[in-house]
């Protein structure tokens, strides 16, 4: 049975209309305006423009509002804050676009993408010379008499080598298909995107996160954790104690890695787990992950003639320094490196150009400053701990994997090719043609190569 040209084209690369049209000729199902591809592209453009704006303007949620005022003059910063651009990813505008994109994606998935799966196993009909001649890419070659079997044999071998699946018709023809898996790309990608939405929703409803700088021997709890307003999760009852923390340096003095030994403690102080963490190596306990996020020396403890004094340390490049005003003109400056093993003590008076070194004192030792004994008691490091609980993560990771597979499948071009050998008077003609929506020129070139290899059988190329 010969198919019409319209049927042929749709068979080769099924269009939305024919795919959604029931095979028994019932009226075609109506597609919602929300499933429009134009709407998808329009929303993608709006989303991209909004994200671009958010990437350009410092975001309060990441860097705080003060950075906005640092980056712009006051009137501009105030305008940006009022317009919601400084927190654009939580603005009604962005949430509306996200909601619209979600609806669009769900409707597109169920009305356009998933129904195409029904046609995945649909067999394409065999085409005759007339139908092949109407395909977008087609050739006609006059063959030598009696060469049809050899021609079809050679074409079959060549197409099989190229990865096509070849089938013969009862008469003198064949059909071949390449990259059928590629047709699954939209379905797989959309399943991945919908799974991603599911994962994000689970995280939003049940997850929490936060950051806390914790001093040595102090504990982290989750009282100030952040979570969504619509939240049905549960906070852990246990806490995390910083047992020790240190910094590892390169020989040049720059930070190579930060380490903290953490112990998970229950309500009664019983140790449930102990682990050393570092950047890129977190601690995980009951679904909560604790990350080494930053590190520094926070406080210096010294004593003057037996009287202890805690001084705040400031980061000064590779050194830390504490400042102790002695009177209106004199400041005692104490500096130390990140190892915290040796304290350098300086004095600076207004009239001096540079501070004067008074002495160097190792940890636990005494430095005589006139009539005062100054003891370098200890240094308190602070470790920056980031924590998060993300119950939707397995679904999200699964979605990432599915999206990757879908995107990889999309790079496979789906091609159909038909051949028919027909008698025209005393001579015979080979009609060969096909369709490839993604890489047409590449397909045409492969077709021409097939024909070129048929040289010995050709009578004349028209």
């Amino acid at each position: 049975m010969k198919a019409t040209v319209d049927e042929m084209e749709t068979a080769a690369e099924p269009t939305e209309k024919t795919l959604l049209a029931p095979a028994d000729g019932k009226k075609q199902r109506r597609i919602s305006p929300l499933a429009s591809v134009q709407l998808s592209v329009f929303l993608m453009t709006l989303m991209a423009a909004t994200i671009l704006l958010g990437a350009w303007c410092p975001q309060e949620a990441q860097v705080g509002q003060e950075k906005v005022f640092e980056a712009f003059d006051r009137p501009t910063a105030e305008f940006l804050v009022r317009a919601g651009i400084t927190d654009i990813f939580h603005s009604p505008w962005f949430l509306t676009i996200t909601a619209l994109m979600t609806v669009n994606m769900v409707v597109v998935s169920f009305q356009r993408v998933f129904p195409k799966l029904k046609s995945y196993n649909r067999e394409m009909p065999f085409f005759g010379g007339k139908e092949i001649g109407k395909l977008a890419c087609n050739r006609k070659i006059d063959l030598r008499a009696g060469s049809q079997t050899a021609v079809l044999g050679q074409l079959t071998a060549a197409l099989t080598r190229l990865g096509y699946k070849v089938k013969f018709s009862q008469g003198q023809g064949l059909k071949a298909e390449f990259g059928r898996l590629g047709r699954l790309a939209p379905t797989v990608t959309h399943i991945g995107l919908l799974s991603l939405l599911t994962g994000i929703t689970i995280t939003s409803w049940t997850g929490f996160n936060g950051f806390r700088p914790v001093l040595l021997e102090e504990s982290l709890n989750f009282d100030d954790a952040k979570h969504a307003s619509l939240w049905i999760g549960k906070m852990p009852a246990w806490t995390v104690k910083v047992v020790s923390t240190r910094r590892e340096n390169y020989p040049t003095g720059e930070a190579k890695q930060w380490f903290s030994v953490l112990s998970v403690l229950d309500k009664d102080g019983k140790v449930l787990k102990t682990q050393e963490i570092s950047v890129n190596n977190p601690l995980s306990y009951e679904g909560v992950d604790i990350y080494q996020s930053s590190w520094g020396l926070d406080q210096l403890v010294v004593s003057f003639n037996g009287q202890k004094r805690k001084l705040g340390l400031n980061s000064m490049g590779q050194k830390y320094a504490a400042f102790l005003p002695l009177d209106t003109d004199t400041v005692l400056i104490m500096s130390l490196s990140s190892e915290g093993k040796e304290l350098r003590v300086f004095a600076k008076r207004k009239e001096w150009e540079a501070p004067k070194l008074l002495g160097v004192v190792p940890l636990g030792r005494t430095l005589k400053l006139g009539g005062v004994d100054m003891v370098f008691e200890k240094v308190l490091p602070v470790t920056g701990l980031q924590y998060k609980c993300d119950p939707g993560l397995p679904v999200t990771y699964g979605a990432f994997l599915i999206i990757m597979v879908g995107v990889l499948l999309a790079s496979i071009p789906h091609r159909h090719l038909w051949c028919a050998i027909e008698s025209e008077g005393e001579s015979q003609a080979l009609f060969i043609g096909g369709t490839s929506r993604k890489a047409k020129v590449g397909f045409e070139r492969s077709l021409d190569k097939l024909i070129e290899d048929l040289g010995p059988f050709k009578e004349e190329l028209k």
């Binding site: 989303m47 350009w56 047409k440």
Partner: protein, 338 residues
Amino acid sequence: MTDLQMTLTNTAGVSSVMSLWVFIVSNFTGSKSRLKERSIKLGNWVMLIGFLCLSAAIITRGIEAERFPLSNLYESLLWFAWATMGGFIYVSRAYGIYQLGWLASLTAIIFFFYGNCLPQSQHDIMPLVPALVSYWRWIHVPPLIVSYAMFFLAGLSGLLNLYQSGRKVTLGIMILTIAMASTAIGLGTFSDKVEVYILQLMFVGSSLVGTVLGFLSLKKVDAAKSAETEAVKRAAMYDDVGYRCVAVGFPLLTFGIITGGLWANHAWGSYWSWDPKESMALVTWLSYAAYIHLRIQRELSAEKLSVVAVLGLLLTLLTYLGFNSLGFGGLHSYGKIK
């Protein structure tokens, strides 16, 4: 940097310059002459030599540094030039193209030159900051750099499609737009005299205006050029080449974004934090997702798709170099030189 590494890098740079000239000469020979065929072959060979030298230079740098050699702007530029040359060799084998050759060589030269002008501290092998001490670095970064190079080649193919289809006004506008955007990045990297907002405006403004004007000017067609059968065939071929580059680049970008999310989650406990660079990578991803939808679902004309591909090139440029050179902050500041 060892002498061997410097020699290999310089050889790759010189090879790019040589292949550029050979490809340019091939454009002025007869359309089917033997000289043209030979010069194209020579150009491809010179490019291949450059590619191999650069591969060796990157490997020796890795051996010298005792780590994966992709941790600062200079090293990423070497990778970008390597991927551009490799990408061209890949598509030229499939299509036998030649005009793209000189554009690919020119791109590699510009990036070599850009890398060469960076301060010595970028050329020197420096220790890694704690956040970069991870196996994720070689999983996350190379696919992104290769995807950027493929998107560049797609954009360049778009320019050639516009030329072959007789859209010379559009071509002029798009070239001017790319030049403006590149100038903004160059000034942002090497000059402190121009205000950062002016540079941002220069980049984003010219890209926006250029793209809109590019679309509007598509109706202006050089009738003589568009009537040439050969030109029409070449235009279709460059459209195909552009799509093939996107078909390679898009999965790599997706992989790069996803692995970036996995790394961020592993290191900081959050796979997405709307950091400027990751946001920009998402914008680029969305633009190519739109390109693919427009191509497959809407069957947009090759010329319109070419303008979209050039817009993609501009967004790629902004993602890759713009965010560090035009004063955007964020977690991905390792590429900053100031």
